[in-house]
Symmetry: C2
Subunit: 377 residues, 2 copies
């Protein structure tokens, strides 16, 4: 399995937990398929897909009795040179599987689309040192906080830190466009204080406002910040969306970006809260989640709670939406699954249909799936 | 502590792990402070902040020997009626702490800004049933896959499923704007097949393309999809950014949204890969992460690896950037921290300065911080 790949590859190291060899084999195979083709191997018949899309297992090494370091190469073309799809290939669905952790990855050296997908930092160390006028020592930084102060007070604090000689004075990541310290006035006030302190001291302290909100709001904030001449901006990309940060950097920002880790551990949201509440609150009319008994690990109880939260929202005035359980449902198990969810559901079956074989078999199985659902009482 | 809160509250249930009472007390206090003011209690002096921003502990209940259900009320005004800041208050920095899990939350009933922050589903069950013409049974769904097929083949599969009577035929979430199946032609081809099948059958099957990429790209895809008359679209909000989905729903989408769970377990990315590689690849010039020994749990080794990945990027052509360790660094420990990171670093100290007291003390401590760094050899 470890012959060199015939295409430029994204090489990913996962840590896979398994209690025995057959578990391990199954999990490694599933991981390899999940991140690109997301179909059972038996359902893969297209030559281009088999040769150019399917990943290749490079190595499996035991780390201890139950943990294995698994290296897989994925063809870089699977990423479509797109920042969202790159993350999806790297750790999309597999991120949901309890027994998989993304440990590391390497980009191919020959990837002409890399900058289109992933802009990389535009200023970096050299740019930050130049802007702050600090050629060689470590830089200092502090935060303007807490949220709830007046803009006058925040600007005063900013001036205090600039006078004290702190290099990078950033907003706390909790400072949004609150009514009690609206963004535009805050940025103007802070930047004025930094400018005045710098003028007096000869230093080049910078103020870095926190950009947060939806893309339209954030781009407007960036525009204001740049017009006011701030030295950098702060963004929490796991909160705003990693692909959005990439677009900001590639297309809009003319200054350095400070990346903030907020929301980066977001998986520790219970599935009930994430899929049952947050997805609909942010606007989803149907929410896909991993069905019990499939290749992901949610319990029947968890699935029931997600479905119930979607179909009978506890949040007042929120319209009911449809659960869309998926992942390993077999076409002949439809009645069982419906007995559990009832009729307020979209049953999503993918691989379970494609396994049927050629188009005639696939059509027959799809019809059977449709019939099972129609006939269910 | 459990008197009713004087303001409309976001009530959040966290599960906190602690091995003894003093650990528990410290972790609960830290959690309460972390999600809004992010300062030690001793540094909170502003009356408005104390009365209107600081959260209130409602209850702590033991679930077993080491797990506790902790309910905290946060003032809803802390969310600024903004979708990104809402997530930040709900589970921003605390998501990074190993011993905290977000279990559940409740919105206040009296929150006039709710729809501005969180649009909620616009179509829901009723809309999806109407669009698909399925008044009461469960709906059926399948996916077009794998990536790597030609657009002709994908459209053919879409037609096959529509003829078989599947209600919702969605793109696999891995179908992006790949060169081998570009988005616009794919959507046109699939939608044509569905239209023709529906015409012949009298059914109302729908095709739901996968929207993915940066905001600009996704909005363009949405426009095309809507012009072609598709019945719904699919979005993976944890991949694209939850606030972006909210904006799409509130401002752009005239059709139902299927929410996909890809990347929703993203915390199982090692900190080295997430902060050391992904943040700079997506464009961060400096990356804030939790320093060792502070209130987050990274080891010295992990911090060293993150810093090394940022300052000496292994990815060719990527400019070096600055690590920005933060979280509990004390101003008098600067030399220790610098001994570890060297000079290619931005030291970020927040609470450790604010603890000093009034503005005079704060200024003196900030100057001392600056001097420690300047004098470090």
């Amino acid at each position: 399995m470890s012959s060199p790949t015939p295409w430029p590859a994204l090489r990913v190291t996962y840590i896979v937990t398994a209690s025995n060899q057959s578990d391990l084999d199954a999990r490694v195979e599933s991981l390899l398929l999940e991140q690109t083709v997301e179909l059972p191997r038996v359902a893969l018949r297209d030559k281009f897909v088999l040769e150019n899309i399917l990943g290749r297992l490079i190595s499996v090494k035991a780390m201890d009795a139950t943990k294995y370091s698994v290296i897989i190469d994925f063809p870089i073309i699977a990423t479509a040179d797109d920042p969202a799809q790159f993350l999806n290939v790297l750790f999309g669905n597999s991120s949901i599987q309890e027994h998989v952790m993304l440990a590391d990855f390497e980009l191919p050296t020959d990837w002409p689309g890399r900058k289109r997908a992933l802009p990389g930092p535009q200023f970096g160390t050299a740019g930050l040192r130049k802007i702050t006028g600090v050629p060689d020592r470590a830089l200092t930084s502090t935060a303007l906080k807490p949220i709830g102060l007046s803009n006058e007070r925040i600007a005063q604090l900013c001036g205090l830190f600039a006078q004290a000689g702190v290099d990078v004075i950033k907003d706390d990541h909790g400072l949004a466009n609150h009514s009690f310290h609206p963004f535009v006035e805050r940025v103007r006030g802070c930047q004025k204080m930094v400018r005045e302190a710098n003028k007096a001291s000869g230093r080049k302290s910078i103020y870095a406002p926190n950009l947060t909100g939806t893309p339209t709001v954030v781009l407007e904030q960036l525009k204001v910040a740049q017009e006011e001449g701030v030295g950098a901006v702060m963004i929490a990309p796991m909160l705003l969306g990693m692909p959005f940060m990439a677009e900001i950097v590639a297309q809009h920002a003319k200054l350095p970006i400070l990346g903030h880790p907020s929301f980066s551990g977001a998986t520790r949201i219970s599935p009930e809260a994430l899929f049952g509440k947050l997805f609909p609150l942010y606007g989803a009319d149907a929410t896909i989640f991993a069905n019990f008994g499939g290749r992901f690990a949610y319990s029947k109880e968890t699935c029931g709670q997600i479905a119930s939260a979607l179909t009978k929202p506890a949040i007042s005035q929120l319209t009911p939406t449809l659960p869309m359980p998926a992942g390993g449902i077999k076409y002949h198990q439809v009645a069982d699954v419906l007995s559990f969810y009832g009729r307020e559901v979209i049953l999503l079956i993918g691989g379970g249909l494609y396994e049927a074989g050629n188009d005639q078999a696939l059509r027959a199985r799809a019809e059977e799936f449709v019939r099972h659902v129609a006939e269910f009482k």
